[in-house]
């Protein structure tokens, strides 16, 4: 109701040197007053510019030029993020992906993250977009690279140990027994193309006889694999019969450097993917439903080590049987 009363003063303001107030900027968006918004984008106050960039999105005609300029040049990361978000609503095709590729060099990770999010949901997934996602998958900042990798990779769920399940959270679980997995007898295969999953190499029946023999409890470099990237481990182990009081079972990894995806008997159980801090974290996986008690079980672990001296399942793994 107050917009008409503000409209005339806005015109005057747009031609003066005074920076418009936030209220005036909001009104200008409603009134379609591009000159005032343009002026507001020159404000020294980031909050004013953020309001202005948002108001630009309300103009009847897309202010693509202003948005592109802001996305490229504004000093405030939120203004740049907003500009990219708004441009994603109007730009399309090669021009858009080219523009995003340009912005992918932004210094601020949160801007790059917004770009990756836009790329991840873009349809159709063109070759250019795929390439941009692959590039972003190597981003030094984990949330950015993870988001890009997740867009290229279908397995996302985070692992949960029994102890982290909500229904056990308020109980004192008792360890009945633990059983170490063999440290030798594993099979290992690099996956630089990140494509082995397309062959369903996590399938229990998958033929891994041509893979390298490997051991765990030490990084893969100790076995001569001077390698950064994605690799796979497989082993078939004998699980003990279910102890009388055991109600639930965890598969506990001492540590994997640095990210891991776990399958047991072909069932995907989740990922331990928290970035560089994950290299030395012990984590558990609830395998109660997937474990075949007293029988052979096939375990597959995909490990990603984007960069660094060491990688792999470098600490022991054991089964832990628990009761309430």
């Amino acid at each position: 109701m107050w917009l008409p009363f503000l409209f005339l003063p806005l015109l005057a303001l747009a031609t003066s040197g005074e920076s418009p107030s936030r209220t005036q900027i909001l009104a200008a968006g409603k009134a379609g007053d591009r000159p005032l918004l343009e002026k507001a984008l020159q404000s020294g106050e980031p909050l004013q510019r953020r309001t202005a960039i948002r108001a630009l999105g309300e103009l009847p005609q897309p202010a693509t030029d202003l948005l592109i300029d802001s996305a490229r040049n504004d000093s405030d990361l939120l203004v740049r993020r907003h500009a990219i978000r708004l441009l994603s609503r109007s730009l399309e095709g090669e021009a858009w992906s080219t523009f995003l590729g340009e912005c992918l060099g932004d210094d601020e990770a949160l801007v790059r993250l917004a770009i990756v999010e836009e790329l991840a949901v873009a349809t159709p997934r063109t070759r250019e977009i795929h390439t941009l996602l692959e590039r972003a998958g190597k981003d030094a900042v984990h949330p950015v690279s993870r988001t890009a990798r997740e867009a290229l990779w279908p397995y996302h769920a985070t692992v949960r140990s029994v102890r982290n399940q909500a229904e056990y959270a308020d109980l004192s679980l008792k360890e009945i027994s633990r059983h170490p997995l063999p440290e030798k007898g594993w099979h290992f295969q690099r996956d630089p193309q990140q494509a082995l999953h397309l062959d369903e190499c996590f399938n229990p029946d998958y033929d891994d006889s041509h893979w390298h023999h490997a051991a765990i409890g030490r990084p893969w470099q100790a076995d001569g694999h001077q390698y950064e990237g994605v690799a796979w481990y497989r082993i078939t182990f004998d699980a003990p019969a279910r102890p009388e009081k055991a109600e639930v079972a965890d598969l506990v990894f001492g540590a994997i450097d640095e990210s891991a995806w776990i399958w047991l008997n072909g069932e995907y159980l989740g990922a331990h993917d928290i970035g560089v801090d994950g290299w030395n974290r012990t984590f558990g996986v609830d395998i109660t439903a997937a474990l075949q008690w007293g029988k052979p079980n096939q375990l597959t672990v995909r490990v990603a080590k984007p960069r660094g001296q060491h990688g792999g399942i470098w600490k022991p793994v054991h089964l832990e049987f628990l009761s309430r």
Binding site: T23, R54, L77, H82, P143, D170
Partner: protein, 1065 residues
């Protein structure tokens, strides 16, 4: 009749017979008559021989069993105690399975127990299986055993499990003492009409009545009859000697003497002052073995007396009378004297009873969420707890939905005793506790496999939930000391979508297969064609399902409501039902159904502010049901593994003393900080759990590892909470201008939400806001849709990845009118936030870094917000947490010092910063002028005014807090007026007045009413005086002391007192 003849008659009546039949081996017809089913006297010549008419001879079952000679009975059976825990040999002697129990029967045996008699000792068993067993044999024959009871040494009760073919029933005796090494005669009679009776040495020790069992016979089962142990499997042998075991047809008179039993049988002996009607129950059982004519019963109490005509009583008949008592008496202990005369009989009885003072209004329950045994009742009352679980029952257990009369009587008597100790009782009940029932009406997955969680969509489940409430309400609901009923605690953690036909019918359409085993939602990234901006329609099929599932579809909210309604229909109006933990669900209204109170459990580590967040989340949930109150719990226990892992070095003294402790005591500074934080919220009560850790337990799961915590809580309750509680309960929340959206949609589509655990980025964002000086109210999407965002200036969107279109439109409208949105990197691209608050990864092994990060983010956020939003109160130090509530013109500020370091209790393990540090800060109120009062110290506080604001300096010890009241102008003097004269039993009114207080502001006062001897009268205590005036009615008692009475009122603002006197005549 001459006096000496009357005396002689009495002597004859009252002198015990020198020897009762059961005190020596039975002979003649008593041993071999037609009514004897079996009689084993273990005579040394033929110890295994049945001396009765049916030759049910015995055989020894185990190596610890033997026949021995005995001076008194000639021979006896002796069973040695088990040599170790878990020893499970079959002992005792076995008689053939052909023993058949008649419809009415009498069981007898003499026993001389060993000192090592176990907690459960089988006297005789042919039933073997409990009634809960699914076997077809479970309801045949009977078992008779002793079970440890009471609190004294060698105290037991007898229990008999009777199998009627289709079902079983258990009868229990009263508690009695069974001295080791001495012969005692035990007997049980069953009349075939539902009534069972127990005697010890011929004395009646209780009876029970089974409804609906008239004319029902015991079914005959296949097992042998075992004396001295159970038929199989458990090993609850009777350790000691057994002699003279007889099974008879019909009810055999066991009582040693003729008597007229005059006794109180009522379930109440404690009454609330002015309670009406109030009566003691008296019963007269004619055990004289003759019919009695009419008699008179005189009764006399404090200032009251009367006469009752006792009608003629046939032999074995009973008569029950209600004797009214005067509850106008001043609170205290009294007794009623009863005298019975007539028919040559004269008996008297003194019946003690108590009158309890009525509670002053607006008290704050301090609930101990633990089952507490009577010996600790006075102890917990001294700490300041007002409520605890005091009564147990078998409701919801596999056996029965009924409570037997004895259980009800004992429960009510416990409530009486607890009330006298200053406590109110609570009980738990849950329709989900019966695993068999839950399995019968369970959830199922898409394959039809059962999931062990009761499915509330079954009508049978709802009916049972109703029955539970009805039975419990009928048993205890009218008792004034029964205050709280916890319904279905912790049942929703394990709920799951179910695919039974009843679920499909309840939903009204097919259930989406994607939700199978995913009660907490799906991942939007894995859904095809998901909108790029992550904005979905309200009608999205998965969202619609999850909203239905969590609000009504899993059935639990309805089940809570069914139990609640049935319970309340049978209960006094002050009884409250509650459900907890109520926010272990997504952010959607409805948790707990219609219960009166929602509760939540919270651990204070790593940051005590989690306790405040839990209260905020409870308030958000309760907002969906106007009138629903909230009580928030602080866990007294800490998980050892999360605070001081076993084996970690270095170790403090308690770790060396109790290395095996699994749960330890909350650090005293955390307990105190949590206390102050709680008071900042509009709560109806405080709850605590884990008394073992407060009381210094050195065994069990909960250990006392820090002695100061209990002392600290005691001091805080008595010095802070008690005087202020009536004020605190009447101060509403201030109208919120900052909100934090908890998005149900994001929880269901992006795995967000902490489900009441206070973990994760959503919780940390809220904590950061508090350190930034904001007071963010938790906002549900339902509130946004129903009420819009009118009144809010700032809205925080943390973990709001996916939103619905109407919510997005409301948020955009909010921004369009100038509202400020603070968003994180996860926010739906549809919303362009004004400010950015980025998440951080909390390393549980580095709480100091986490706190430093949060304080830095709070500082940055505060600075960024400054141009567009200014909180009404600000602190110069981000560790000083302030919460504001208001009532009329009065504004209440709650301060808590959150400055902490690691300390040396658990802090040396670097998991929890548990030690509070002192803090000095300046608090700025953006008010022009006004006056400020310290409500804890009862004194005004100097304010410094400048630039349109006023300031004061706060000096708080580690974990300390304060409560302040700001008023626009100084409050006038407090005055109290009373009538100059009053009469006993009269109702008078005291009037308190104070000028310059608006109609809504509440001010604490403490009133003391003393009689001429200086004793405090009912009505003394703390009050919250609203609107500057208060009228207090007082019922003077008929036995109050005449003379000059004094009324003193302590002013909670100034510490000054006002007095008035009146003359009682």
């Amino acid at each position: 009749m001459p006096f000496y003849l009357s005396l002689l008659a009495w002597l004859l009546l009252l002198t015990p017979l020198k020897s009762e039949p059961w005190q020596r081996p039975y002979q003649g017809d008593s041993a071999r008559g037609p009514d004897v089913i079996a009689y084993w006297n273990f005579h040394p010549d033929q110890p295994a021989h049945d001396s009765g008419p049916h030759a049910h001879h015995l055989e020894i079952r185990g190596e610890a069993t033997r026949f021995v000679a005995d001076e008194r009975f000639g021979g006896a059976l002796e069973i040695a105690p088990a040599q170790g825990e878990g020893e499970d040999h079959r002992e005792g002697v076995a008689a053939p399975s052909s023993v058949v129990f008649p419809e009415a029967l009498t069981l007898e045996m003499s026993v001389a127990p060993d000192e090592a008699l176990g907690a459960t000792a089988y006297l005789l068993d042919k039933k073997y299986l409990p009634g809960s067993d699914e076997s077809a044999q479970a309801h045949k024959d009977l078992g008779w055993w002793l079970r440890k009871a009471g609190t004294g040494p060698f105290q037991y009760r007898m229990e008999v499990d009777l199998g009627f073919g289709e079902s079983s029933e258990i009868l229990r005796s009263d508690v009695f003492t069974l001295p080791p090494g001495e012969w005692s005669h035990l007997a049980f009679t069953y009349d075939g009409q539902g009534r069972g009776s127990f005697t010890l040495n011929g004395e009646w020790v209780g009876e029970g009545k089974l409804s609906g069992r008239t004319g029902a016979s015991l079914a005959s089962g296949p097992f042998k009859l075992i004396i001295g142990d159970r038929v199989g499997s458990v090993g609850h042998r009777f350790a000691g000697k057994i002699a003279s075991v007889r099974i008879s047809n019909g009810v055999v008179a066991i009582h040693p003497q003729k008597e007229l039993l005059l006794k109180t049988t009522g379930s109440r002996s404690v009454f609330e002052r002015m309670e009406t009607p109030a009566a003691l129950t008296l019963s007269l059982d004619n055990r004289m073995r003759r019919n009695l004519g009419a008699m008179k019963l005189y009764w006399k109490g404090e200032g009251d007396k009367g006469t009752l005509e006792v009608p003629p009583l046939a032999e074995a008949a009973s008569w029950v009378a209600k004797l009214p008592i005067d509850t106008r008496l001043r609170p205290g202990s009294y007794h009623l004297t009863v005298e019975l005369s007539g028919e040559g009989i004269s008996q008297s009885l003194e019946i003690p009873y108590s009158v309890q003072a009525r509670a002053v209004p607006h008290q704050m329950p301090v609930v101990l969420w633990d089952f507490i045994q009577p010996e600790r009742w006075e102890e917990i009352a001294r700490v300041g707890f007002t409520h605890a679980f005091l009564v147990t029952h078998g409701l919801g257990s596999p056996q029965t939905l009924k409570l037997d009369e004895k259980a009800i009587l004992e429960g009510r008597q416990r409530l009486d005793r607890a009330w006298k100790a200053g406590l109110q009782g609570m009980v738990q009940v849950s329709v989900g506790r019966d695993k068999e029932f839950s399995a019968q009406y369970s959830r199922i997955d898409t394959e039809g496999n059962s999931y062990p969680n009761l499915n509330g969509n079954f009508p049978q489940a709802r009916e049972r939930a109703r029955d539970l409430g009805d039975v419990l309400g009928s048993a205890f609901g009218d008792h004034p000391a029964m205050s709280g009923v916890l319904i279905d605690t912790e049942v929703r953690d394990s709920t799951r979508p179910s695919f039974h036909q009843v679920d499909i019918e309840a939903y009204g359409q097919p259930i989406p297969p994607e939700v199978a085993n995913r009660p907490r939602g799906v991942t939007w990234r894995q859904l095809s064609n998901f909108p790029k901006d992550r904005v979905i329609e309200e009608s999205h099929p998965l969202l619609a399902f999850y909203r239905w599932f969590w609000k009504e579809g899993d059935g639990w909210n309805r089940l809570h409501t069914e139990t609640h309604r049935a319970l309340k229909a049978k209960s006094h109006p002050r009884l409250w039902s509650w459900f907890d933990p109520a926010t272990r669900v997504p952010s959607l209204y409805g948790s707990g159904g219609e219960v009166d109170v929602l509760g939540q459990w919270t651990y204070s580590y790593p940051d005590p502010l989690k306790i405040s967040l839990a209260a905020e989340e409870l308030a958000a949930m309760a907002a969906g049901r106007p009138g629903q109150a909230i009580m928030n719990m602080t866990q007294i226990i800490w998980y050892r593994e999360q605070t001081a892992p076993k084996g970690s070095e270095p170790q403090s003294a308690w770790e060396r003393e109790q290395p095996d402790a699994d749960f330890i005591t909350i650090a005293p500074d955390h307990l105190e900080a949590a206390f102050w934080l709680q008071l900042g919220h509009h709560l109806s009560g405080l709850m605590y759990h884990g008394y073992g850790s407060l009381s210094g337990a050195t065994t069990g799961a909960y250990r006392g590892t820090h002695g100061e915590s209990g002392q600290r809580l005691t001091r805080l309750i008595h010095e802070v909470l008690h005087p202020l509680a009536p004020t605190l309960r009447q101060i509403p929340e201030a109208k919120a201008d900052v909100g934090l959206l908890q998005s149900f949609t994001s929880q269901m589509f992006a795995g967000r939400g902490s489900y009441g655990w206070g973990n994760g980025w959503g919780a940390d964002a809220w904590i950061i806001c508090r350190h930034a000086g904001l007071q963010p109210k938790i906002v549900y999407e339902e509130e946004v849709l129903a009420k819009g965002l009118e009144g809010y200036s700032v809205l925080v969107l943390a973990h709001c990845d996916v939103l619905t279109r109407p919510v997005v439109e409301a948020l955009q409208a909010f921004q369009a009118r100038g509202g400020v949105i603070i968003g994180d990197e996860f926010l739906s691209p549809a919303i362009l936030p004004d400010l950015l608050l980025t998440s951080f990864d909390r390393d549980p092994r580095d709480p100091q870094r986490a706190k430093e990060t949060m304080l830095a983010k709070a500082d940055a956020l505060s600075k960024e917000l400054a141009p567009v939003y200014r909180p009404q109160v600000e602190a110069s130090d981000r560790d000083l947490l302030i919460r504001r509530r208001s009532a009329g013109a009065g504004e209440y500020f709650f301060l808590t010092n959150d400055r902490r370091t690691f300390g040396d209790y658990v802090g040396h393990h670097q998991r929890v910063m548990e030690k509070g540090l002192p803090l000095k800060a300046t608090v700025t109120l953006h008010r022009e002028g006004g006056v400020l009062y310290d409500l804890v110290r009862r004194q005004p506080v100097a304010l410094e005014a400048s630039g349109g604001s006023v300031r004061f300096h706060a000096y708080l010890p580690g974990a300390g807090g304060g409560i302040y009241l700001w008023l626009p102008k100084a409050a006038g003097d407090l005055s109290v007026t009373a009538p100059t004269q009053a009469l006993r039993s009269e109702k008078i009114e005291l009037r308190l007045n104070r000028a310059e207080i608006d109609s809504s502001t509440v001010i604490p006062v403490t009133l003391t009413l003393r009689d001429p001897q200086g004793r405090e009268a009912e009505g003394s205590g703390p009050y919250g005086m609203k609107g500057g005036e208060m009228t207090l009615p007082f019922n003077l008692a008929p036995n109050d002391l005449p003379g000059q009475w004094e009324v003193t009122v302590l002013d909670g603002l100034s510490g000054q007192t006002a007095t008035a006197t009146f003359e009682l005549r």
